[in-house]
Amino acid sequence: MTSSEPVGTANPGAAFMRRLRNDHAGLSRVLRTIDGLLDRLAGEPEAVQPILAEAFGYLLRYQHGYHHPREDRLFEKIRRKRPALADTLAKLEEEHETGERETAELAEALAAEPPDALRGKKGERLAARIHGYIQHARMHMRDEEAVFYARAEKVLGKSDWAEIIDGDGTEDPAADMAVLADQYPELAAHFDLPTRHPGRSETADPAVNAPHQLMLDVTDLYGGLLHEGFDLTRRNARRLLAVRGPIGLVRTVGAITSDNLRFAGRCVTRPSRWAINTGADWLIARVKPVQDG
């Protein structure tokens, strides 16, 4: 996903910008992981809370600890070269500050209570807050990419880059699964899941789903009849408009009457057939002896 190329080699500007881009890649991955867990927070807090706690720890320690200071130094240089961008850059810097505060608050909220306290409404409220945070973080990244990603390398010279580039070389732990697993084991275990279930908060119990299944059947049944009814009405209208002379009218009325009667018959037989079949299935399911093994 990312490279750990040392900053400060042949093309320091390009290497530095690549590092920022890789930071965004790591951040996107973590945001997607968090987003995939939110629906389960209120229902299974004991499983979700530790992963979210680690994810917010990562955001605080790496994204706010290293990535944003790097960007702030870059903004400062761009601002000097392109004063017209001052307002936009000031807005992005302010978002770094408010983002860090919000991250710290959410990390605290996740750590403050035992997981069980997050079951139900409290967990739902926290999940909604985290969801808002994720949306905001995504928009912030988008704005940054639009505003300075394309410009920085064109605007800044060698001496500017020399001042911007930091010597610490700290890499994004999300770029290396071994490092991530070492520092954030719970988060790492959720990084490479082959299947995720966004939006699923309830368990699929067949007994609970039975009335829902019945509703779907009824909707299909009457939806089908409704569809045929509309079709028939359209066809009838077309036939009536095409009538030429009294004989044509008699023929058309005859055809319309027979089609309508056939449709009326379907309206009576189809629901009753469905009701008899469903009732029979229900009865068989109850009368049939349970088989062992």
């Binding site: 996903m1 279930h197 966004p198 909707t219 939806g223 045929e228």
Partner: protein, 304 residues
Amino acid sequence: MVSWQTRTAKLLGRLTVRQALKHDLSVDDMRNQIRRMERFFPGVPDDVHIELEPGLAHCDAEWLTPVSGATERVVLHLPGGAFMTRFKRAERLLLARLCRDAQARGRLVFYRLAPENPYPAGLNDCLEAYHQLLERGVAPEHIFVSGMSAGGCLALALMLSLRDHCMPLPGGAVLMSPAADFTDEPDQGSRVDNAKRDALLSLEQGDEIRRLYLGGRTELKTHPHVSPVLGDFTGLPPLFFQVSNTEILLDDSRRCAERARAAGVSAEVDIWDRMPHGWQALSFTPESGRAIARLADFIRERCP
């Protein structure tokens, strides 16, 4: 929890599209009905610029660019519509939102449709669109192929074809409920289990769609470019699938991802809870925004 907007869309879909697909409907009728329905989809947001630039031998294509400025990323989008129709406005809006979120340029390809142009005409148009991007200097690793439903099938077929011809492969693919199995043979799994639960699709017209798309040569249905689920995924770029647990096409995504992983390809599947087919295009639902944001996250991860 499914939002009320999505629940409403599902009910409307069940009462209209699903019923229409269950009955004998000519291709022209289907296209007319879609044109009528399309009026309800809003246009592309102001912050995305559209440029109609054909440049392809047999079909139209458009460029969509976020006004705020795009990165090097390019999303090559192949719309769905059972290979015979398309929701032009809805797909354009979907791609515009994806491009805005991923800060990418979008290339929307209106490949030729069956039955007038049966297989492989549509796939050839997609290949041409991809080659055109390379000719214009877009690096393959910056290209992401995206496709919904039938477009997802073409996206997979496109990558298999590129790999077979030793062409440079794109940086990844985002696939929304791809229809990747044209054999329709499994008598178990999601095509049976979800036959009643799917709010839009129904298998009643499956044979007819197959006959029209393949121009009568139904023996081609097992060809990997027609049913990519039967293909060899070795060497393909990372794949990201989105599908709903109530779709008849659920197993297509699952099986493709399993085969891809078995071939050493990174493949993730998002299985959403009780969404209708193509919910990503329903811009008025919150789940659509969230799904697109997740697709954009994937693109940003794989193409920093």
